[in-house]
Symmetry: C2
Subunit: 224 residues, 2 copies
Amino acid sequence: MANKKAVVLLSGGLDSVTVLAMAQQQGYECHAMSFDYGQRHSSELIASAKIAKQSGVEHKIVPLNLRLIGGSALTDDIDVPDYEPDSDEIPVTYVPARNTVFLSVALGWAEVLEADAIFIGVNAVDYSGYPDCRPEFIQAFELLANLATKAGVEGKKLSILTPLIDLTKAQIIQKGLDLGVDYAQTISCYQADDHGKACGVCDSCVLRKQGFTAAGVKDPTIYI
Amino acid sequence: MANKKAVVLLSGGLDSVTVLAMAQQQGYECHAMSFDYGQRHSSELIASAKIAKQSGVEHKIVPLNLRLIGGSALTDDIDVPDYEPDSDEIPVTYVPARNTVFLSVALGWAEVLEADAIFIGVNAVDYSGYPDCRPEFIQAFELLANLATKAGVEGKKLSILTPLIDLTKAQIIQKGLDLGVDYAQTISCYQADDHGKACGVCDSCVLRKQGFTAAGVKDPTIYI
């Protein structure tokens, strides 16, 4: 039997790098895709390229400037706020339709590769409350994906796999460490500087920091 | 009441230009979006810009190079074939996940604009058999769109509107002429030259030509 193939959405952050390691462990031939979407934290792209290379997987960085649309602290002239515990609001770091866009382009590549799955590191436990990280969104995208493509019409089923969806940040970190992930190389900060140093105060930094603490593991992140 | 707002996907072809005219007639404040996706027929982008300007609508052209993915005669080194009548095959001009990608980016813009609808000129009668032109695909995308966004979570319903879906090409042309569309400015050919001259033999040209004949209207297209 030929290898199972997958497209893995790789941001260069803690979650997506863990997903790549998990997909490889599950026997998938992985093809990683990242987006240069005008994010503030473009040092994550350098991280993603390095990690893809070390993992021995093909890697495409797709330029798609979401600043044309704006509407987010990550892609517009809006400050990244500090972490707000227990907020019910969807934060301003939410990028309109970002995961829908990323999954759609990944879907096109998956069809060309004749892939069986797309992996995405969404998480509905220690997360920022983005609507496009919820299980019902992922299910709706999988339904759409199998109607959208020639492959789908011809009966080739594509799965959208989210192995982190029910894990805490601490569990994700533990899983990654078991698989040999070097988290020092990952960048989660929404406003990391050009050298990849993290701010330590944004949502993404705080959730990550709390994860290392809860996992009882030394945080390898370099903060500004 | 404030104007209803819509994002209109505008390729510069016969169908999408008719949709723009219909959306304006229905009272929508329209915002047109086109994609520079590495298509062979990039003269359609010049057409779309001219038409948006004449229609008095905001227009964004999003660079998103689908040649990175390939897999289509429009975005890869595969020849555009001549029209095949009554073929059951999905043709090689199908671009993997194209409408999914276009609708996703339009969804992001729609959210920023607080739009009520996205218009897309898909058609399931005189069309090339692409899976992402079928009503079931559009329904699945609408479902997804309302789960994907902050606006959706907050209860603002977005509709995906396809006013051409059940029309023949001749009916579309008749509708457009009634609304004052100048089809001489539209470009449908998959391999139009730099001056916008059409090949006359690809799927898209033949369906268009047959449409003008069936509508009993002079075909204003300039062929090579």
